[in-house]
Symmetry: C3
């Protein structure tokens, strides 16, 4: 196996490699993750498998080859590999298969609508995949997914979501808090491998994505945001509004349960994935499609260009080396950066 001693990434964790819908039953899907070309495909029973997208003989991307049942045949010299990356046919000479003819394969868990990959040296630990089950417990027409590649470092996306104070400034009318959010300092909860932030506020009318599903659309409403980061770059975000002084959670508000998660392609580009599930209008396929499209477009038009410009202007992924002026609203993203840095350091020292 390739040693990854010097990886700048946390590796003994689950990253999203792709949306489940991105990998069909026929294709050989290739994506660069953590500076490594990865081949993903589905065996005939539909199971997603992943291996390094590189033949160990002459380094051709295996995704340029072809499938033969659950095996992959390299395009260049016809070496064949099974779905665990083990060479099982060498058409050359006396057909002996060199012991080293093994492609590094990666553990996969397909869950919550995503294909999760483990690229670290340690044995894959399924218990390290956080629980995002609410995403898939509702009606299929209440949930949407999207993929948004960006030319920025993945931690800038984490910063973006961990500091929701930006929404009144960067985004349009549809999700404005009418100036209520910025003055609030979020409550922060530190977990063993997580960091959460929570805002509560009152605004009138309620956020425009929710107000028409409340009984008094024009009146004031109580709102909450609750976000939880888990490593390496998952942020689960819940948001909702009610007008009956009920508990501020998704059982008692009109709201939605989102997952923002990003996977570095390299230090300079990021695969950003987003999923959202509503607890209202759960059976309207057309609305559902419109909703995920609108969220995709808001990110692509509003956050995306700012994050790419920041990446370019910074010229480094080390935020602190540039002595940023930090605000109270930076508490959560700064804590996450420090936690992640410690985790990467600990992983490197344990190698």
């Amino acid at each position: 196996m390739t040693s990854m001693n010097k990886s700048p990434y946390l590796t003994n964790v689950w990253y999203v490699a792709a949306l489940s819908t991105e990998v069909g039953t026929e294709e050989l899907f290739s994506r660069t993750l953590l500076d490594t070309s990865v081949l993903i495909y589905r065996t005939e029973d539909g199971t997603a498998v992943a291996m390094q997208d590189r033949c160990p003989h002459r380094f051709v991307p295996l995704s340029m080859g072809r499938r033969e049942g659950d095996n992959i045949v390299c395009a260049y010299h016809g070496l064949k590999f099974n779905c665990e990356g083990k060479c099982n046919h060498n058409p050359h000479g006396n057909n002996r298969i060199p012991a080293a003819a093994q492609v590094r394969s990666y553990p996969i868990i397909e869950k919550y609508g995503f294909i999760w990959i483990w690229m670290g040296e340690k044995t894959a630990d399924p218990s390290l995949l956080p629980d995002f089950s609410p995403l898939v417990e509702g009606h299929p027409n209440s949930v949407g997914y999207t993929y948004m590649p960006r030319e920025c470092h993945y931690e800038l996306i984490t910063d973006n979501v961990m500091d929701l104070s930006h929404i009144d400034h960067l985004h349009g009318d549809i999700i404005t808090t009418r100036g209520q959010l910025s003055p609030k300092v979020p409550q922060i909860r530190e977990g063993e491998r997580s960091l959460s932030a929570r805002w509560e506020w009152v605004q009138k009318p309620a956020m425009l994505i929710f107000n028409q599903y409340l009984s008094k659309p024009d009146d004031e409403a109580d709102h909450f945001f609750d976000i939880t980061w888990t490593p390496p770059a998952n942020i689960q975000l819940s948001v909702g509004a009610n007008q009956d002084k009920g508990a501020l959670d998704l059982d008692h508000t009109v709201g939605q349960y989102d997952l923002h998660t990003s996977t570095p392609g390299s230090q300079n580009y990021t695969h950003y994935f987003f999923a959202t599930r509503r607890n209202h209008i759960e059976d309207d396929a057309e609305y559902n499609e419109m909703k995920i499209k609108a969220m995709h477009e808001a990110f692509v038009a509003e956050d995306g260009p700012v994050l790419d410009a920041v990446h370019k202007e910074m010229g480094t992924s080390d935020l602190f080396s540039l002595n940023p002026v930090l605000l109270t609203s930076d508490a959560a993203p700064v804590k996450v950066r420090r936690l992640l840095k410690e985790m990467v350091k600990a992983e490197q020292e344990n190698l």
Copy 2:
């Protein structure tokens, strides 16, 4: 303030940041100067101001934000800065403004049709801006300006103008000296912070840009070029012709007063600015427009590709490291390169 200890540029001087006409009254104009993103805009009274195009909080280009009177509001989290770069509003938490929330601002002088910027650490010294007043003392229709970005090092543009012996070889019929210029070794005058070169010659007919404004268009005429470099990269060029043995200056010839000036964007691209004022046909707007357009096009079609190709072929900005074969005609540009190098060295040692 950011330290610029290692700048490869002379910094305690005035560079052209933009033509006056490039910066309108509404827009947030951004340009990279000396490897630094700079925001330029006009306050409501029309005064041009400049600051680093980077919010000190999360490093978003301020030019992505919006104006609020004379202030700039950052696109990402709504920090507001006055026209001196001082943060005057923080919408977050208790609204306290961190003392460090200050964008580096740059002194500006708007003069001679250009916006000049001072990016050095020393206090800006207006007396270091050379006098180019003849540019703006004539009729508005006798003067033209243009901006020509290039993919080459700025010193290659200085070399180009400091050695006018190239014009018979690189340029077309309209400014040929009919072989008269190349044999002449220019007279060189060294000033305290300047270097001048002067050529005088006779040709028949006179340069085609002038001959029809002389009394005997087909006869021979006396000509002169007089150029003066001042740091960092200004070259004032006067050229004219007469047929009456009068003095060879702009009061006694049909001629023009030009300014070539360039500002490095980086070591690999340059903002090249050009201005020209005639002492003839001073009131013909259509001719004036045609004239500046023709000069722009000659540079873009003739000098520009050669300079870009030289930059690429050299692979370094250090001309002397490549052991060029120098000719007598290189005396002026070589002296300028040495003067500039000494000035940069002196500036770095005084830091």
Copy 3:
């Protein structure tokens, strides 16, 4: 002359600079070879000459200039150079020509339809140009040439041709050996400055590029491949088939005599040249054109993308540093890599 002490290339050898047909009688042809810009043109008597494409004065590519008889006039300041790169006119000052005003010129041999260049420090040795005379000894309509630039290291092209076991896997039906080639371990012959490999096999029907020119197109036939590498990157390939138990050589088979040769532009791109001569259908111009076009397209569509992808995936030109899993079929290309490496090392040590 420029020292090339640190060249990563073998330099005291003949490289193909261009196809003879690429350099016309009027043009100034420029191509980057071994990281150096080279100007190639033909003197009025048709002789190809080559020199560095860089004026020694201000480093303008001489190919931007113009011809004056057999001389080249630089576009920028009019220095004139003869076809050996010696400056023979300086229009400036007193016209004195600096002794150093000499462009490095390169020995050229035009032979076998190619313009061969010698870029090393040692005196050019014509005896080091291998004999490829069969290419040009037949009817003009039996031979074709093509040029195929690629974004890969040139040794990957050598590897490709030295291990012909790839053809059943990468290429289409037209040149398949129907699985017969891969099991064969080629016979290897080592020469003083060459390495050869030979395969012999039986297939039915014969290769589809030959079978219709055999007496029994549907029957089995004996086949051979014989390839010889000579430094730096020439591979002469002979291939043929017969059905009469005759000798397996080009005098006794329906076959063709090919030359694959590549010249590094840099470590990241390669000029790949190919020539082929048939010993059948020698007088059909239309067939000849179709044939070279088909071979060009097969390479561009089949080998080319794989080689470029390998180059990108490897991220280095040092194959062995990546610990490739080697197969019996790699014997010939691996030997060639080692021979070439030794030759480069020997050349560097002798400097």
